[in-house]
Symmetry: C2
Subunit: 432 residues, 2 copies
């Protein structure tokens, strides 16, 4: 991969090999619109096109009229993977130093000053209009560890777990972009779960947790009643990926979730990273999923065997007084189901996925225990052991003032493909 003439720090997630898309607003243009990230800069695509014209900026690519001026990436996503590929390649030409590259931006000082803006100076918005959000449970080691905690080693996983990607419908209205404050939820909890009869109380969650997940955005929709073939899902229906923190209130969830699943324990907030990394950019980091010895139904049989990604992931906890601790390091390869399998299963009965719909992978934990866990529930063995933080601070679950930062990237220094940060700080419950 060639280099960019825009300075890219060796540790940057946004090398020329990446070119992720996001929605920004700037002091010059406060209406949300599209940009890509390169190094520490955002390239304002609306500005670029307004100065240079669509045909000169993206010659020969159809359908782009107006799409980068919109407040979400949905119109762009809907154009399909062929267009995403062409646009990303053209941006690599515009931003690259290869002999074949374009001087359109590099040699135009005035345009550079207007279209290349420090990421620090732009405001990031939710990249997509998310019609529906579905959260899966494909992180095998997480599902197994949590299952052992609740049901013992023999019955850790339900019989359906290895036959289908288990998932549930999440709440679209509370998905927020990185940096949005998270208020600790109030909910019904059982202070004494062993007492009979069960007597709940209503109060702030005492077991506020995180879930480290990969999120996947849908590009092309499927019609109601029609299903997506597992081998057509990627790149046919996948736009790109983000990091996702599925904030979870374990005490609320435990009391409410039988028989219809998690509800208020989850629906208060879900944070995603702002830049959508396109499917093409992650292709070099394909890896084998967690082995599943169960013979699969035909509709889940994927030709692509390297069907997940080996992306290094980490979770950092920053306390109110600024102490930073990386509490987990793992990889997104620890999934037992791929996103194409999730899409094939989700649409098997004809459920329509729309452009902009979000799928969560489920919590990603490594096989090695605490230091590789995607949730505090696992790290603390259900709240029984503390996680040590720098300065001899410690946590079972989150305190008000804690900040959680998820990071994820793949590839060598200087040519990294990553997500940037997915950040959320916990604030005290709001009184009505």
């Amino acid at each position: 991969m060639a280099e960019s003439w825009v300075p890219v720090a060796p540790s940057s997630d946004f090398s020329l090999a990446n070119i992720p898309f996001g929605i920004i607003s700037t002091s010059a243009d406060p209406t949300p619109h599209a940009a890509v990230a390169i190094g520490a800069e955002a390239l304002d695509l609306k500005m670029l096109i307004s100065q240079h014209g669509l045909e000169k900026t993206f010659p020969g690519i159809d359908g782009l009229e107006g799409v980068f001026s919109q407040p979400t990436l949905n119109a762009f996503a809907r154009l399909g993977s062929g267009v995403h590929r062409s646009v990303r390649r053209r941006l690599q030409e515009i931003l690259g130093t290869a002999p074949s590259s374009s001087s359109l931006l590099r040699d135009d000082e005035e345009l550079r000053a207007r279209a290349l803006i420090a990421q620090k100076k732009v405001k990031m918005h939710l990249p997509m209009d998310i019609g529906d959000y579905t959260d899966f449970y494909a992180g095998y080691h997480h599902a197994h560890a949590v299952g052992v905690m609740f049901r013992g080693l023999q019955n850790a996983l339900q019989p359906n777990y290895s036959h289908l990607p288990v998932g549930y419908h999440g709440r679209a209205s509370s998905i927020v972009v990185s940096g949005t404050p998270i208020h600790r939820p109030v909910g019904q909890i059982l202070l004494d779960p062993a007492a009979e009869p069960k007597q709940p109380t209503a109060g702030p969650s005492r077991r506020l947790d995180i879930e480290l997940e990969l999120g996947c955005f849908i590009s092309r929709p499927n019609k109601m009643g029609e299903s997506v073939d597992v081998n057509d899902a990627n790149p046919g229906h996948i736009f790109g990926y983000v990091l996702l923190n599925d904030w979870s209130a374990r005490d609320i969830q435990t009391w409410e979730y039988v028989p219809l699943g998690p509800f208020n324990g989850k629906n208060f907030a879900t944070t995603i990273s702002p830049w959508v990394v396109l499917a093409d950019a992650l292709k070099p980091f394909r890896a084998k999923a967690v082995d599943n010895p169960t013979p699969l139904q035909d509709y889940l049989k994927e030709q692509q065997t390297d069907n997940v990604f080996d992306i290094d992931l980490e979770v950092e906890l920053t306390t109110a007084d600024g102490g930073e601790t990386v509490i987990s390091r793992t990889s997104s390869k620890h999934l037992m189901w791929s996103f194409p399998q999730m899409i094939a299963h989700h649409t098997l009965g004809g459920c329509p996925l729309r452009t902009g719909d979000l799928l969560g992978s489920g919590t990603i934990s490594g096989p090695g225990g605490e230091g590789e866990s995607g949730s505090l529930l696992e790290m603390t063995h259900g709240g029984k052991r503390e996680v040590l933080l720098s300065g001899m601070d410690a946590r079972t679950f989150l305190k008000d003032g804690d900040t959680i930062t998820l990071r994820g990237s793949a590839g060598p220094r200087g040519a990294r493909v990553g997500f940037g940060e997915c950040v959320g700080r916990v604030y005290t419950s709001l009184r009505r």
Copy 2:
């Protein structure tokens, strides 16, 4: 209540006491826009305003500019209950024969010909842009009957059932308006649930069922992190009501739903009736909910004791050869939780409800067994007994070609407030 000068059959759901809102398109104006129903006619509000001007049609009511030209009722719903009340009253003046009524439409033959269109001749659309759909489980007799079937009499209801309105996130993308074809879903099912190890197969659902529910649309949103007081929910946050058929594939649901809840067993389709009956119109039919002896948390204590509605409901099954049988008659009063309680619980942890969000009541069944059940699962005791149809046909679950019609209305003949029909016909699974 005065009468309308528009002919209203005594059995019509759409008397002057109702005035429900919907989204229509017509041969004269194929762009979806707003209307109300009166008798067998639709009054085209966009046409009325375009001919008469907003100020003359709705004098003194602010905020209506453009709202009835939109393809959904969201903008109108967002204006809040004060505006909904004023607009409905004004329409009762325009359509009524009381001395105080307006002759604006009645005495204008040309306008009548253009704005009053037979319902048979208009196409109905989804009335709202539905951001999120939540399905509750507040039908006590249904929850109890199904619980007995799965877990026996002693453990029929989970300990949480009487402490909080149990609900789960549904699928917004597959909500369709009455009349939309329903394709039988394909899914993973266990043909022999007793065999070990469990071996699923993929095929069309053999246990396709219905759920008779009341749906409730949100008007004013709440901010993320803030909750809605149970005593402010109605009419503060409720726009109106529809009938809802939560189509359910029992065999798919049974295999998939532990531990995260129903997914493909539900997300293939949900049908709603097209006309939204405003909160005000149903006020005279308030009734007491099913008694709940459990002391409630403060946030669920409602001052209004008649907090549900006594609306007569029925389910009709029409076979492919045209045989019609009403298979159930019940009332919407058989709920143990009210919509204000559902809203207070849903927002307790700060989950934002947006204008247009839909809440389902959960299946409504009466206490009297089969003839009052809101699902075939209950009527047939889990598929063990057949429901007899006219002409000595019989069903356990639905066959391809069957049509389900839900109806609901309250009040005396000539002054009825009802929903019209919520219809869906079952078609064979679509091959990909």
